[in-house]
């Protein structure tokens, strides 16, 4: 469960891991017991220890001077190369833009960024070989490709001089096919990594469980009036201080309020709710009836508030995460299930991704489904890859071929396999990447096992209908009416006796709820 992408880019719970805000948070942290090697730098350690920012500024000040970069410190130069620009307008963004304009005059910033993190780059080569090494299947590193890496500069452009990081594969009559094969091998290595690890069902089920934990925790914070910004700060601080193994403990702390202020707020709210519920337990003056007596009063009762119930559910989810209770796949929507081209630019696919990239929509869908099918709270989790390109961007590496610079996937004609540079191999691989995309809904095993075979089939049908609509012209009222029979079939497997036509409070809470897909929770009057 890497902190780098999962919680940020994939699940959208935290701000971007490679944004300036995150790196600032890491770089400003003081490390009291770290010091510089005195043979490299004789600077005395600050009283409260070094921060990463201070170390970089001390060690690389001379480099910046040599590059004749004035008015910027080494740490900013580093950030300019490795970070994404700030997303929101404001002072931070203005300062960033100002610094970048100074820097661009002194160095080829685009080239530096491409070398560090883009298509075939230091970041990619590092994690590809490292991940395979740690998986026990080390990849062979053919260093020949590095010899083909070049920086090409054009000075005859109207906009002035421009440098680009490329892989030189030679002239048209002497194409270095081994370079292309090497790129294809890297792409294949990346694909295998995605297929066998990154998008493996078990990993996705656990990621989805982690997502559900955070969705519910975030909801608690909203209920006690903590802003999204503050939640992100608290979560980030706790996560950055912990290790991967400490994740369950971090989540538990987060669920308990995170910091002192949060814990206090949560406690206050629970106490207030408890007091209100006590009034309902010790019923006030009731209408005296000859044959009924008023209930007894008891001030020592400690009821469980709704917040506590939700925290209990969260702790149960955290325990499942810690104990690797992998949920079972209940529903899968593949890219091939979409009408239209099976590509990232499929408008329906884009719409679905946009829908479920929003954590609030994921929670709404899951809570709605649980209430609709009488499934225990926390029994459903979902995963929806936020990018349908599925990290096939290696194929966009710039080639220097026939004296021109062209991205590989544009040069290799996708529609004419026989005459293309790789005889269709590149685009076949890219399409395989696209086919990796699938949105999935998982269910807790005990809940799944409680359903009969028919119930399971019907649950799939219900999820399918409530999850997303392929056809924008379909009448949602009719779709809703059609799915009712499947809902009843699932409910038959989840027996819930009801006296005097009592319904669950959840059903009333969701009575007017519309699923993110647009389908209504409740059957419209006369809709059956």
């Amino acid at each position: 469960l890497p902190f780098g992408h999962t919680l940020e880019d994939e699940l959208n719970h935290l701000r971007s891991h490679d944004g300036p805000g995150r790196i600032e948070a890491i770089a400003n942290k003081k490390h009291l017991h770290y010091d510089l090697d005195k043979s490299i730098c004789a600077c005395p350690k600050p009283r409260d220890g070094w921060s990463l920012k201070e170390v970089i500024n001390v060690l690389y000040g001379s480099v910046i001077e040599a590059l004749e970069i004035h008015g910027l410190d080494p740490f900013f130069v580093l950030c300019a190369i490795v970070c994404k620009p700030p997303r929101q307008d404001g002072n931070q963004k203005r300062q960033w833009d100002k610094g970048i304009s100074i820097l661009e005059k002194q160095i080829d910033l685009g080239v530096a960024r491409d070398i560090v993190g883009n298509t075939i780059c230091a970041d990619f080569l590092d994690y590809l070989f490292r991940d395979w090494h740690h998986l026990g299947k080390p990849l062979y590193e053919d260093k020949r490709l590095y010899q083909y890496m070049e920086v090409r500069t054009r000075s005859d452009l109207p906009s002035g001089r421009k440098s680009v990081f490329v892989i030189n594969v030679g002239a048209a009559d002497g194409v270095r096919h081994d370079a292309l094969t090497n790129i294809l091998l890297l792409l294949e290595g990346r694909y295998q990594l995605a297929e066998t690890v990154l998008f493996h069902r078990t990993k996705l089920a656990i990621t989805a469980l982690l997502d559900r934990c955070l969705l519910e925790i975030h909801d608690i914070y909203k209920k006690i009036g903590v802003t999204d910004h503050d939640f992100t700060q608290i979560a980030e601080t706790l996560l950055l201080e912990g290790s991967d193994d400490a994740l369950p403990e971090i989540l538990t702390r987060l669920a308990a309020g995170g910091d002192e202020a949060g814990i206090g707020r949560l406690r206050e709210r629970i106490e207030a709710d408890r007091s209100t519920i006590r009034d309902a337990i010790n019923l006030g003056p009731v209408i005296p009836d000859l044959l009924t007596s008023g209930p007894a009063r008891d001030e020592t009762i400690i009821p469980e508030t709704a917040l506590e119930t939700q925290i209990r559910t969260i702790n149960e989810l955290i325990n499942r995460l810690r104990d690797r209770c992998v949920y079972t796949l209940a529903y899968k929507l593949r890219i091939s299930d979409f009408t239209g081209p099976h590509r990232p630019d499929n408008p329906r696919l884009k719409k679905l991704i946009e829908l479920y990239c929003n954590p609030e929509n994921r929670r709404a869908f899951l809570r709605g489904m649980e209430a609709r099918c009488n499934l225990p709270s926390g029994s459903l989790v979902m995963y929806c890859p936020p990018n349908a390109a599925m990290n096939a961007k290696v194929a966009k590496v710039n080639l220097f071929i026939e004296g021109e610079i062209t991205p590989f996937d544009e040069y290799d004609d996708k529609d004419r396999e026989d005459s293309s540079l790789t005889r269709g191999a590149l685009w076949a691989q890219i399409r395989r990447f696209y086919e990796l995309w699938s949105a999935q809904v998982y269910i807790e095993r005990v809940a799944w096992d409680s359903l009969s075979l028919t119930g399971k089939k019907n649950l799939r049908e219900v999820i399918d209908k409530f999850f997303f609509h392929m056809r924008s012209d379909s009448d949602l009222t009719i779709v809703r009416a059609q799915v009712e029979a499947s809902i009843l079939a699932v409910l038959t497997d989840r027996p819930m006796a009801a006296r005097d036509e009592s319904s669950s409070p959840e059903l009333e809470q969701f009575a007017d709820f519309i699923f993110p897909s647009g389908l209504a929770f409740a059957l419209p009057p006369g809709g059956q």
Binding site: A280, L291, A497, R499, Q509
Partner: protein
């Protein structure tokens, strides 16, 4: 499982669960616990009226009793906290235990109202019957009847003592159990009202139960026979009526006893608003058919069973 078979089987189970003992009271939370069922009081903020539900699909089944509150929460009811429950909530536990036993022992899952409304109602009646038998078993009713006159209407003070003090249930449950065993008795709970159109007094039946020898008006009937309406007055009283109409039912030779009571009007039907004006007061009325009643066999049999 046919409805008849379900009902009979559940009554047999209720008999097993309530053998003849000295105590008229049964701790339902304890019974639920022994059966592996958790009882929770759930506080909800919804506007709908909800009474109870049971989730039978869990590894540990749960009975949810609902109470309105301005905030949501749960109280798990332990055996020593049963006194917090109202008689209606206790009846609900018994009712839901019926569902649990039907599901577990008789393979009869609860019927969804949405799936089959008629079957749902039939099953609910079955469970009510089971709950009543569990809370007020037949041997207890017979024991009570041994101590009352077979000529007079059953005392409403007695009904109160048996229901609230002894069994921890509502008067309605005990009244129904009495009428099940004693064919000549019946009970009405009637709200005082004035007909808006002509200003005449009348009673609206809010509860009605009767033995097999007697006929009484149904729920929500209007009783406007002056021979009846004008005589039920004051805090309490008793009376014999030779002949009158109670709703559409013609009744003869009735011995009545009544007791004034506050009647909650929150659950009154909407049509009452337009047609009648409810006073918020009403009466519990105990009725006995004034004929010679002789059940020596029953009493002897009961004595043999008990002693």
């Amino acid at each position: 499982v046919t409805p008849d078979h379900l009902s009979e089987s559940l009554l047999a189970i209720a008999k097993q669960l309530r053998p003849v003992t000295r105590s008229p009271y049964i701790s339902l939370v304890n019974l639920a616990k022994n059966l592996g069922v958790i009882v929770e009081l759930r506080f909800h903020t919804g506007t709908e009226t909800r009474v109870a539900q049971s989730d039978l699909n869990r590894s540990q089944p749960k009975i949810f009793l609902y109470r309105k509150s301005s905030t949501e929460g749960i109280l798990r009811i332990a055996s020593d906290k049963e006194y917090l429950l109202t008689p209606r909530e206790r009846f609900s536990i018994a009712h839901e235990l019926g569902h649990f036993l039907a599901f577990k022992n008789l393979n009869a899952p609860p019927v969804l109202k949405e799936a089959d409304p008629a079957e749902y109602r039939r099953q609910e009646r079955c469970m009510d019957h089971f709950a009543e038998s569990l809370l007020v078993p037949e041997w207890l009713v017979k024991l009570w009847l041994m101590g009352v006159s077979d000529q007079e209407p059953i005392s409403l003070e007695g009904l109160k003592k048996w229901s609230v003090a002894q069994c921890g249930v509502s008067g309605e449950v005990v009244a129904s159990a009495l009428a099940r065993v004693e064919p000549k008795v019946g009970f009405l709970k009637a709200a005082e009202a004035v007909r808006r159109a002509n200003g005449k007094n009348l009673f609206i039946v809010l509860y009605s139960v009767h033995g097999t020898d007697l006929q009484l008006p149904n729920l929500h009937s209007y009783i406007d026979d002056e021979r009846f309406v004008d005589k039920i007055r004051g805090t309490s009283g008793c009376l014999s009526i030779d002949d009158c109409h109670l709703g559409n039912v013609k009744c003869e030779n009735l011995n009545l006893a009544w007791h004034r009571s506050n009647i909650g009007t929150s659950r009154r039907r909407r049509e009452f608003h337009s047609k009648v004006q409810l006073s918020g007061k009403g009466y519990w009325i105990s009725i006995r058919l004034d004929r010679c009643c002789d059940y020596p066999g029953t009493q002897r049999q009961l004595q043999l069973n008990l002693f």
